[in-house]
């Protein structure tokens, strides 16, 4: 079997197809020996490991790959893993009530409610941070003056801060959002995984990234890997299999999470996954535009066409 | 002379009862797990107002005896009494000028001499006045700002002596205090000490290797035998209490006692002669 080293920023609901392919034996079927490594140090470090040659594939945010690609490295995106901005936005129940929000409030009302809120995100420059900035921007609020964005670290820190009312809202994926809602009286402001923010519907959030050299040297392995991932994406959406797969992934990766919470999260996050890793140029352009909206450093030097390829996918799905 | 209240007149405090009493005292150290008997069977009385000198071979336990009188450690046999009560750790009635000077290296001469005065809580100006005086007494005038490592060996000793005098205790334990001083200075210091004791009724235990000194300064002299140390003889010095140390060298009595001591201490050499 060919060994493929996956660098992943954390263990979470954002990388399910990889877990599925691993647990369901899709990788094995494709004659791939998958080695999953956690890089808590973040996307930059993961990308560094891939570019340095220690790791082969970085499963993570598209923005990390794009940044690298725009700075003279041969980073390349070879497939879409998740095509929704699956960081949900949860607000303190009290705060939401004060702002007069209900289940039926419109997107505009919800956005406007962010005024004056203390919004917790994981880290500076992270996907959750960008989402917060995006929402404030959409709401016509100045992120410096009309609200405060705080970097609170990982899920535990965010929950700790949220439980003590130290932040008013946060953006983070399942199951943190589910926990906050269930245990700490949170109000689900936006279910982005379900595409509730129209402008971000279909956003290429998580992708399969590698270095050009690797696919040049191992085109066959890359193709087999991508087909296994695609197989996983398809299987997850198959109503006949999805529950069995869910339980298997739960057993292997999330045994400590409350089962009902996990099931809920699975259902919530499923729509965020496409059934094909195919990437369109329009998707790429949207990501670039999105990033350029907030960052001081623009992605000027980026050659979009060189930064991604669908060549590793089976032609049939194109 | 200030008496420490907790020490004063506890019991049968008449003229003949000794100030310091060693009763069948022995001390055993443990060196690398093996016992080492430093002194044994010491019976010794030191009376108020007298100067008792201790002479004996190197390593016979003279310093050990002073340490016990100061309460640094207890004897392993027998008992040591001070004014009738057993000596407890850190006997505050005694001042101790140790064999090594143990000056504080981070304080200059003034600072070192000032320590006991600071502990007593004197005022700044009072302290500096006293220190100045003491520096003159021991001949360190002008060296107040030198640190111990900038002094000569003899000057360090004098600094320690000044510190002892600054403490001004009831009883002085002095372990070879004048060993590093030149003959002239040494004689001056001997006079100073005798004078001090007579004037202020201090009691002194004084260790020396110089038999002339032992006789010149002492009212009595305890002679030790070698290891394990014990007292061979206690020699009375029949010189006048107000003797003039300057003139002693030509005093026949003085010479006789010194020669006598020599014989007690170094019979082997005397035989060879």
């Amino acid at each position: 079997a060919d060994r493929v080293n996956f660098a992943m920023p954390s263990i979470g609901m954002l990388y399910l197809p990889v877990y599925v392919a691993e647990q369901m034996g899709y990788f094995a079927d494709a004659d791939i020996d998958a080695n999953l490594q956690v890089f808590k140090a973040g996307g930059g470090t993961s990308m560094a490991a891939v570019l340095g040659g220690d790791m082969d594939v970085y499963i993570g945010s598209t923005s990390a790959a794009l940044r690298a690609a725009s700075q003279d490295t041969n980073a390349v995106i070879i497939g879409a893993l998740m095509t929704q901005y699956a960081s949900n936005v949860v607000m303190r129940g009290e705060f939401a009530k004060e702002k007069g929000l209900t289940e039926s409030s419109t997107v505009e009302e919800r956005l406007a409610a962010l005024e004056g809120a203390l919004i917790g995100v994981t880290g500076a420059g992270s996907g959750t941070h960008q989402l917060a900035l995006y929402m404030l921007n959409e709401a016509g609020l100045d992120p410096e003056r009309d609200a405060t964005v705080v970097f609170v670290g990982g899920g535990s820190e965010i929950l700790a801060a949220f439980s003590r009312d130290r932040i008013d809202a946060f953006t983070l994926s399942n199951p943190t959002s589910d926990t906050a809602i269930a245990q700490y009286n949170g109000f689900l402001l936006f279910n982005t995984a379900a595409g509730q923010l129209p402008a971000l519907d279909g956003h290429l959030y998580i992708s399969v990234n590698t270095r050009q050299q690797w696919i040049d040297e191992n085109p066959e392995v890359a193709k087999r890997m991508m087909s296994a991932i695609q197989r996983a994406q398809v299987a997850m959406h198959d109503p006949a299999q999805t529950e069995a797969i869910r339980d298997k992934v739960y057993e292997a990766y999330f045994p400590k999470v409350e089962k009902s919470l996990f099931d809920q999260a699975w259902t919530a996050v499923l729509p965020a996954y496409p059934t094909s890793p195919h990437i369109s140029r329009e998707q790429m352009e949207r990501v670039v535009t999105f990033l350029d909206t907030f960052s001081e450093r623009k992605l000027d030097g980026l050659d979009i066409d060189a930064a991604y390829t669908n060549d590793m996918l089976e032609p049939a799905t194109n | 002379m200030t008496k420490h209240p907790d020490q004063a007149m506890t019991q049968s405090d008449n003229v003949t009862s000794p100030l310091i009493a060693f009763r069948n005292v022995g001390k055993q150290f443990i060196v690398k797990g093996e016992p080492l008997q430093a002194v044994h069977g010491i019976d010794l009385d030191v009376y108020e107002g007298e100067i008792l000198t201790l002479v004996g071979p190197s390593g016979c336990g003279k310093s050990t005896l002073l340490n016990m009188a100061a309460g640094l450690f207890a004897p392993t046999e027998g008992e040591v009494f001070y004014r009738g009560s057993q000596v407890q750790p850190y006997n505050p009635a005694v001042g101790y000028m140790t064999q090594s000077d143990h000056l504080l290296p981070w304080r200059d001469v003034i600072g070192n001499i000032a320590i006991p005065l600071e502990i007593k809580g004197l005022s700044k100006s009072e302290i500096s006045r006293r220190v100045e005086e003491l520096m003159e007494t021991v001949g360190l005038g002008g060296f107040g700002k030198s640190y111990p490592n900038q002094l000569s060996g003899g000057m360090r000793k004098r600094c320690a002596l000044a510190r002892l005098l600054a403490y001004d205790p009831e009883t002085l334990l002095m372990d070879e205090p004048f060993a590093a001083l030149d003959a002239l200075l040494r004689m001056r210091m001997q006079i100073e000490i005798r004078d001090l004791c007579r004037r202020l009724n201090k009691t002194v235990m004084f260790v020396t290797h110089d038999l002339d000194e032992a006789v010149a300064i002492g009212d009595r002299c305890a002679v030790f035998t070698g290891r394990p140390g014990s007292i061979e003889r206690i020699v009375d010095v029949p010189l006048a209490p107000d003797r003039n140390i300057l003139h002693l060298r030509k005093d026949p009595d003085y010479r006789a006692i010194t020669a006598d001591l020599w014989e007690v201490l170094a019979p082997s050499i005397e035989q060879e002669l």
Binding site: G42, G43, G44, M47, A48, L51, S63, A64, R67, A68, Q71, D72, T73, G123, A124, G125, S126, H129, T148, V149, V150, F151, V152, G153, G154, E157, L159, A160, A161, S163, R164, R166, I167, S295, E296, R297 | A70, L72, P89, Y90, N91, P92, V94, G95, Y96, T98, S100, H102, L104, P105, W106, R107, I115, P116, E118, I119, K120, Y147, N149, Y167
Partner: protein, 261 residues
């Protein structure tokens, strides 16, 4: 002559710095991609831009406040504990393994608890920093107090010194080299603590600047923030050193005096 060696030292320092910077500039893009190591000229430019806009001062001030606050808190408590346990042997023996074990915990793993108890404000970062500094100062102070000459203590005791006298006249002066080594060890860790605290939760400070740049994969920004941290470290270190010299006048005499034996 004094100032001559000073100039010489500074010349060497500048030469060394120049050597490092030039090698870096040359290596960048050749030996390693600029994406990872940036280049000194770009970093200088970025840093200068931050200086002009005041960004660096705004963020630096907060980090400095936290670092100094945590440093003071941690080192004062560390010293007190060090002195106390240094004098109380039994308590020290009993507590020693717990202190060591507590200190082996990666603070990052305790982040949720810190957030839970101290929130996400400046105080949390100060406590975090203090926690880190405490240990370094404590262990050095403790060792220093244990190393005090028992003879000197005994001499003072014989003069009727109280525990307070012994402490201030013997123990502290003779342990001071140890204490200051602990303090100097702590300077870098105070900054690291402050920055790690900012990485846990904040929206300002050099740690934020760092994370923000890192989040945007802006290596130049990362290094510019690190330069800010290093400059701060330099000045904090110089301050502690100055304090050290001032507190130990006899040391200076010691090293500049001629030795006689």
């Amino acid at each position: 002559m004094e100032s001559l060696t000073k100039t010489r030292i500074w010349t060497y320092r500048v030469a060394f710095l120049a050597f490092v910077l030039i090698s870096w500039e040359l290596a960048s893009g050749r030996i390693a991609s600029e994406f990872f190591i940036s280049r000194p000229s770009a970093i200088a430019e970025q840093f200068f831009a931050w200086v002009m806009s005041g960004t660096i001062f705004y963020h630096g001030a907060i980090t400095l406040l936290q670092a100094v606050g945590g440093f003071l808190l941690g080192s004062v408590i560390g010293m007190c504990f060090g002195v106390w346990l240094g004098r109380a042997q039994l308590v020290a023996e009993v507590l020693d393994p717990f202190i060591m074990m507590f200190y082996s915990l990666p603070k990052v793993a305790l982040a949720p608890l810190f957030v839970l108890w101290f929130g996400i404000g400046i105080d949390m970062k100060i406590y975090l920093t203090a926690t880190i500094v405490f240990f370094l100062v404590f262990l050095n102070t403790y060792t220093g107090v244990r190393a005090v000459s028992r003879e000197q203590v005994a001499i003072l005791r014989l003069m009727g010194a109280t525990e307070r006298h012994v402490l201030f006249k013997v123990v502290l002066p003779s342990a001071i080299t140890w204490v200051f080594t602990g303090l100097r060890l702590s300077v870098p860790y105070a900054l690291i603590g402050s920055i790690v605290g900012e990485l846990i939760a904040s929206n300002r400070g050099l740690g934020y600047l760092l994370a923000n740049s890192a989040g945007q994969f802006d290596t130049t920004g990362v290094f510019a923030a690190l330069i800010g941290i290093m400059i701060m470290a330099f000045f904090l270190n110089a301050t502690v050193k100055l304090l050290e010299i001032k507190s130990m006048p006899w040391r200076e005499t010691n090293s500049s005096r001629e030795m006689s034996i």
